[in-house]
């Protein structure tokens, strides 16, 4: 479980996050949604420790990040898996080397043991037979899957995904979303996903945090999002005709 309280973050005097609080529970896919520029990535990078908020606390299962020593912070980072927006695979390494990288850096496991784990997670993300390929030699959807495999190879307690399905076709996007949710439930991970894709919201939105102008404008589940009268939500979600119709159908039952 991750708990954030009153997070504030500015860049060059402009406040991007103006005091956001939320609880992200384990075993659930927690979504952060909001318009482009609303601060989703800034919030996620604050959770990751890449940005340091000026105000507020972030606690990982009771451990308040800003109070920890450098070693303890490093320790927490080894418990985090991150899926970056552009996959961020190391382009000089093969698929297999990419996935095994965190293990080679942080464990003393034998290469046979590492290889076994790598094979296991690659199979888990339904990617077999690409071990020896370079990231540039596989498709975007496959790259995402490799990145997920790399993010979970360490058995992370926390998994963060920045727009996991941007740039993917609808089918592949749903596959990736479902993969993230299955893994979250299977290993009881605290997962936080940034997205502005309403399909993801419908598919995997166990808990949704809606950001607007640096503040939490709404919070709830994917079922509740159809029922709420919250103006900001209605405006954001139903800017698309398709979802307007979905909502009407949903309200009719």
């Amino acid at each position: 479980m991750i708990e954030i309280k009153n997070i504030e973050k500015s860049f060059g005097g402009v406040k991007i996050l103006k005091g956001v609080s939320c609880v992200f529970e384990a075993g659930k896919t927690n979504l952060i949604i909001g318009q482009s520029g609303s601060g989703k990535t800034v919030l996620l990078k604050s959770l990751l420790g890449i940005h340091t908020p000026e105000m507020g606390t972030i606690s990982f299962d009771g451990r308040i990040y800003s109070d920890l020593s450098a070693d303890e912070k490093r320790e927490i980072r080894t418990e985090i898996g991150m899926l970056f927006q552009g996959s961020a695979l190391f382009d000089s390494m093969t698929v297999s080397e990419n996935v095994g990288f965190p293990l080679r850096m942080f464990t003393n496991d034998s290469s046979a043991k590492i290889q076994k784990r790598v094979d296991f997670v690659l199979e888990r993300v339904n990617l077999v037979g690409a071990h020896k390929k370079l990231p540039s030699e596989i498709s975007g959807g496959m790259q995402k899957r490799v990145a997920i495999a790399r993010a979970i190879v360490n058995n992370p307690k926390y998994l963060f995904c920045d727009e996991p399905n941007s740039g993917l076709d609808p089918n592949t996007a749903i596959l990736i979303d479902n993969l993230i949710r299955e893994i979250t439930e299977e290993y009881n991970i605290t997962t936080v996903v940034n997205t502005h894709d309403m399909n993801s919201v419908m598919e995997i939105g166990d808990h949704i945090l809606f950001l607007k102008n640096g503040l939490k404008a709404w919070e709830g589940t994917k079922e509740e999002i159809f029922l709420t009268e919250n103006e900001a939500i209605v405006e954001f979600v139903y800017s698309s005709e398709l979802f307007k119709k979905v909502r009407e159908a949903y309200l009719k039952g």
Partner: protein, 220 residues
């Protein structure tokens, strides 16, 4: 770490052998040819060709001008490879995993460039060889005069001076381009700009330090 260092040695040193050999050989040849062509007065001894080739190749051409060329070759390679890791969030990925990314990326390059004097040594050897071949086979002088010139008034400290500055330039080649890549912001276009800026700064620094080192080591 070992693997990373081998990879950098391969990318930076081994990969540069060809261009260093090629340029040194032909520039050495031209230096001796130019010297020979300017020795029109028959009172000037012929050994001067070998002497001038040795001095210019060892003192300036191989250490300094080869480093400027390497600032273009190795430097832009380093800046663009680290810069593209920055823009594609690979550096963030390293940080998130708890890896000290600056160390991870730059340290192996510094170690690899400890071998840079070896590269410059090859440049010196081939530069002089090129001079010898151009002189002897081009009909500008004979082998005995050239070798006499190579050995005449040899000051061992000049070699120390040349390799001292080579070592320093090697460290500049590893660090300046790395920092330009590491701290860049933006996208693919900015990677290209960062490589250009890093080349300019690396060469300006090399030229200025060359002046200062020469002043410190060779003047009394």
């Amino acid at each position: 770490m070992k693997g990373l260092i081998y990879k950098e040695v391969d990318d930076l040193i081994i990969d540069s052998l060809g261009i260093v050999a090629f340029i040194s050989f032909f520039v050495g040849g031209v230096v001796s040819m130019q010297t020979a062509l300017n020795l029109t007065n028959s009172f000037i001894p012929k050994y001067l060709i070998g002497y001038a080739t040795r001095q210019s190749v060892i003192l300036e051409f191989a250490p300094t001008f080869m480093s400027i060329i390497m600032a273009g070759k190795m430097g832009s390679f380093i800046t663009s490879s680290i810069g593209s890791m920055r823009v594609t969030e690979q550096i963030d990925a390293l940080e998130v995993m708890g890896v000290n990314s600056l160390n991870y990326l730059v340290f192996p390059k510094i170690i690899a460039l400890l071998l840079y004097p070896f590269l410059v040594g090859i440049g010196m050897f081939l530069g002089i060889t090129g001079g010898y071949i151009a002189t002897v086979y081009g009909g500008f002088g004979n082998s005995i005069d050239f070798i006499d010139g190579l050995q005449r008034d040899f000051i061992p400290f000049h070699v120390v001076y040349a390799f001292t500055k080579t070592f320093i330039f090697g460290m500049l080649l590893a660090t300046i381009p790395s920092f330009h890549g590491f701290y860049m912001k933006g996208g693919a276009l900015e990677v290209g700009k960062a490589s250009t800026v890093s080349f300019v700064w690396t060469s300006v620094t090399i030229i200025l330090l060359n002046y200062i080192i020469t002043q410190l080591l060779l003047t009394k």
